[in-house]
Symmetry: none
Subunit: 413 residues, 2 copies
C-alpha cells in the first residue's frame, strides 16, 4: 500500500521550521512496510492545498496531512480535507468537552471563540484524541481512499501517531514487518558500517540499516514475514551476530531504551549512586539523565557550578587549583568529579568543564576544548576532547561523551 505525506504550513515554505515530521513519518511508514513515493509541503492557502490533496489522492491510497489544525483563520487543513472528501463539518461534542477540560487544567484560562473551531470535525470521520494539545487528529475514509489529519507540533503528532495511527495502518497491511534495534555507543558510523560490510552486502531478509545519532549508531534489523513469530526467528541470528561483533559497545536491543535509561538501569543493578558536576553544559547532562522517570534512587543530585566561585563553594575546589590550571583543565575536571563524590556522598561523580563558545576561546584553550572526568572509589578517569561545531553541538557532544565515559566506569566497577 502506498502512502503520501503533505506538510501544511507557511512556516515550512518560509523556512522558519525544519520539517522533521516528514522524516519521522517516513521512517515509521517504512517500518510498517508502506511505500512512500512522494512528500510535499504547501502553505496555508486554500486553493493550493486543495490542489495538492487532489493530486495526492489521484496517485496514492493513504494521504497523511500534518499541520494547519490550529484555532486561527489561516489553519485550513481540516476545512479543505472535508471539502475534497465531501464530508461536511459538524460539531463533535466529545472534542468540545475535551477542549474545555484542557483549558481548565492549563494556565491559559481564557477559551477564545476560535478554539471551538477545533471541535468541528468532518461528518463520519474517526476522531483521534490529542493528549498534548487541543486539535484532534482525524481519519477520513471514502471510496478506498484514506486521508489522515495530524496536528503539526511534533510533541502532539508523535504520541498520536504511535497510539492511534500506527495501529490503524498496521491493520491495513497484509505482511508483517518486525524490527529490532541494536544500539551501539562509543563507535563511529563509518567504523560500524565497515565492520558489518559483509553482512550488509549479502542481506535480503532481514535487512540491516544503520542510523547515526550523536555518539551512537543504531542498527535496525528488519524482517518481513507472515507473522511476528516467523519474523523474530529470521531476526534472532542476525541480532546475535551483531551483539557478538560489537560486544560491550551494544548498550541495548530495546527500541525504547535510551542510552541514559540503560545507564540508570546499570546503576540500579550495581547498587551505585550518582552525582553530576557540570560547568559548560549547564545542566544538560543531569537533564538528560532525568529524562528517565523514577531514577531518583540512583541519580541523587547534580550541581551546575557555572562561575568559578561556585566551584569552590559548592564542591570545595581550591582557589589555587583554579588559578593555576584554569576552570577548563584536566585538573579542574578531576577535582570536580572527586569532590563531587566526597561532598555529595555519592559512589560516582561525572564532571564536565569546557569552552562551548562562541566566546571565551583562546589559542591555548580553543572553543570546543572539553574535559570530562568520572570518579569512582577515589579513582578518576579524565578525558580531553576537541569538539567541532557551534555552542549547541559542542555541549551535546560533551553530554553524550560524558554518558559513554560514565557507562564504561560503571561497567568496570
Amino acid at each position: 500500500m502506498d502512502v503520501e505525506l503533505i506538510a501544511v504550513g507557511t512556516e515550512i515554505l518560509l523556512g522558519n521550521i525544519v520539517n522533521t515530521n516528514a522524516a519521522y513519518l517516513a521512517e515509521k511508514c517504512a517500518l510498517l512496510g508502506l511505500s512512500l513515493y512522494y512528500q510535499s509541503a504547501v502553505g496555508d492557502n486554500e486553493d493550493r492545498l486543495e490542489n495538492a490533496l487532489q493530486t495526492a489522492l489521484e496517485r496514492s491510497s493513504v494521504i497523511i496531512l500534518c499541520g494547519g489544525l490550529g484555532p486561527t483563520k489561516d489553519d485550513l487543513t481540516k476545512e479543505v480535507a472535508a471539502k475534497v472528501m465531501e464530508m461536511p463539518l459538524v460539531t463533535d461534542t466529545h472534542t468540545r468537552e475535551r477542549i474545555a477540560s484542557y483549558f481548565v487544567n492549563s494556565h491559559y484560562k481564557v477559551i477564545t471563540e476560535n478554539n471551538w473551531k477545533q471541535a468541528q470535525v468532518p461528518k463520519g470521520a474517526t476522531v483521534l484524541d490529542n493528549d498534548n494539545g487541543t486539535a484532534p487528529g482525524l481519519i477520513l475514509k471514502k471510496n478506498d481512499k484514506v486521508v489522515i489529519l495530524l496536528p503539526g507540533p511534533p510533541n502532539e503528532l508523535i504520541p498520536m501517531f504511535e497510539t492511534a495511527v500506527a495501529p490503524y495502518l498496521r491493520e491495513m497491511t497484509p505482511e508483517i514487518i518486525c524490527s529490532t534495534m541494536v544500539k551501539i555507543c562509543g563507535k563511529g558510523e563509518s567504523l560500524v558500517a565497515t565492520e558489518i560490510g559483509d553482512m550488509i552486502e549479502t542481506q535480503t531478509n532481514p535487512t540491516i540499516a544503520p542510523y547515526a545519532k550523536m555518539g551512537e549508531v543504531h542498527l535496525r534489523v528488519t524482517a518481513k514475514a507472515a507473522n511476528s513469530q516467523a519474523a523474530n526467528q529470521l531476526m534472532a541470528p542476525i541480532v546475535e551476530e551483531l551483539k557478538t561483533r560489537f560486544g560491550t559497545y551494544v548498550y541495548s536491543t530495546l527500541e525504547e531504551e535510551t542510552l541514559e535509561a540503560s545507564i540508570i538501569n546499570l546503576l540500579r543493578v550495581k547498587g551505585l549512586t550518582l552525582t553530576t558536576a557540570e560547568s559548560c553544559t549547564g545542566g544538560m547532562l543531569s537533564a538528560r539523565l532525568t529524562n528517565v522517570s523514577g531514577g531518583s534512587d540512583v541519580f541523587k543530585q547534580g550541581v551546575v557550578t557555572y562561575c568559578n566561585h561556585s566551584k569552590e563553594k559548592m564542591l570545595g575546589l581550591q582557589e589555587t587549583l583554579l588559578l593555576e590550571h584554569g576552570a577548563v583543565s584536566a585538573e579542574t575536571a578531576e577535582a570536580m568529579a572527586k569532590c563531587g563524590t566526597l561532598v555529595m556522598e555519592s559512589d560516582i561523580c561525572v564532571s564536565i568543564t569546557g569552552i562551548a563558545g562562541p566566546t571565551g576561546g583562546s589559542k591555548e584553550k580553543p572553543i570546543g576544548l572539553v574535559y570530562i572526568a568520572c570518579c569512582y572509589q577515589n579513582h578518576c578517569t579524565v578525558k580531553r576532547f576537541n569538539f567541532k561545531g557551534n555552542r549547541s553541538k559542542v555541549r551535546e557532544n560533551a553530554v553524550v561523551n560524558a554518558l559513554i565515559l560514565l557507562r564504561n566506569c560503571i561497567l568496570n566497577s
Copy 2:
C-alpha cells in the same frame, strides 16, 4: 516571482535523513523576496521525478532541484532535467578538468569510470563550480522557465547557493523583502491572534504572521518594498502598535534573541545574580539559561536536588517540611527558592518541583502538577500548574513557565 523546491533522494522518503536543505533554501528564497508555494520530495525514480518536474514547471517559474547529482546509476536528476528541458547532455571539458584536479587533491586517489558521468552537462546550461565536491551545479533556462540543479550534501549546496545561485536569483527580482520579529511570552496563541484579529484582517503590506512555540508567540512582520529603508518605514508603525498592544509581554524584537537571552540581559541591566533549584526538570532550566554564551556573570550556579535528601543537604530544607507537605508542594517550592538565595548568596532564585510522570502520580498529586517559585529579597511568588502531556512536555512547560515567572520577578524588582 515564484520558486518551487524538489528534493531528490530515496533516503528522504525512507526517513533516513531530515530534509534540512528545504528549510535552508526556503528561508533564503523568502529573504530574496521570492514566493515559494510548493516543496516536494521524490525518490531516485525516473518516471516519478519526471512527473514531479513537469508538474512544477506548469505552476512555477523557477524550480530548484537538490540531490541526485552523484556518480552512481541511481543518480538521475541531471538526466531527467535534460530530458524535460530538451537540452541533450554533452561533455563539459572545464568540469572534466576540475574533477581530475579534485581527485589529485583528495584522499581518494582513484577516479572510477562513473565519476566522468558528472562532467556531462545539458547543452547550453550554466555550469556552477563545486568547491566542496565533484558534482557541478547547473542552471537550465528555456522559454522563461529556469531549472536549477544543486548537489544534495548541505556542505556543497550551501556554499554554491550563497556564491552563485543567490546572486543569480537576486538579479531576477525587482523588490526586496524585510521582516521584524515581535516576540511575546506568557500569552497563548489564540489570545494573541484574537487581540490582533483586526490588524490581520486588514493587512496587505506589511503582513503579520504568528508562530507559536511553547509559552511563546512570535509575530513576524514582513514588508515588500523597493529598498530596505522603505521596507523599514512600512514596518515601523506596525511594530510600534504590536508593542503597545502587548506591553511587557513583548520580550524582544530581535530575530536572534531568545527568551533566555533576554532574561540574561535583564539580569545584567539590573545587576542581579541568579541561582536555579530544580527537582523534576533535572537541570533543563539551567541548561536553557546557559544556552546563552558568557552569562556566568549573572547566572552563577544551579542545583538539581533530585532526591529528598539532597534538598536537605544542598539547600538546607527541613526534613519536617518535606514530611509534612511532600516534595511536590507550594511550601517546598517556596523553601527551595528562599534557601537558594540564602545558601548560594544569590539575589534571585527560581525553583521547580513537580511530578513529570509517567510514574509517581496520585489522586491528590496527579502527573503534571508542578509548583514554581521565585524569590527576591526574601519575598517569594509561588505558582501552581497542572500541565498536560507526556514527561517531556510537562518538563518543557515547567521550564518555560519558570522563565516567564523569573522575567516578571526581575521586571518588578
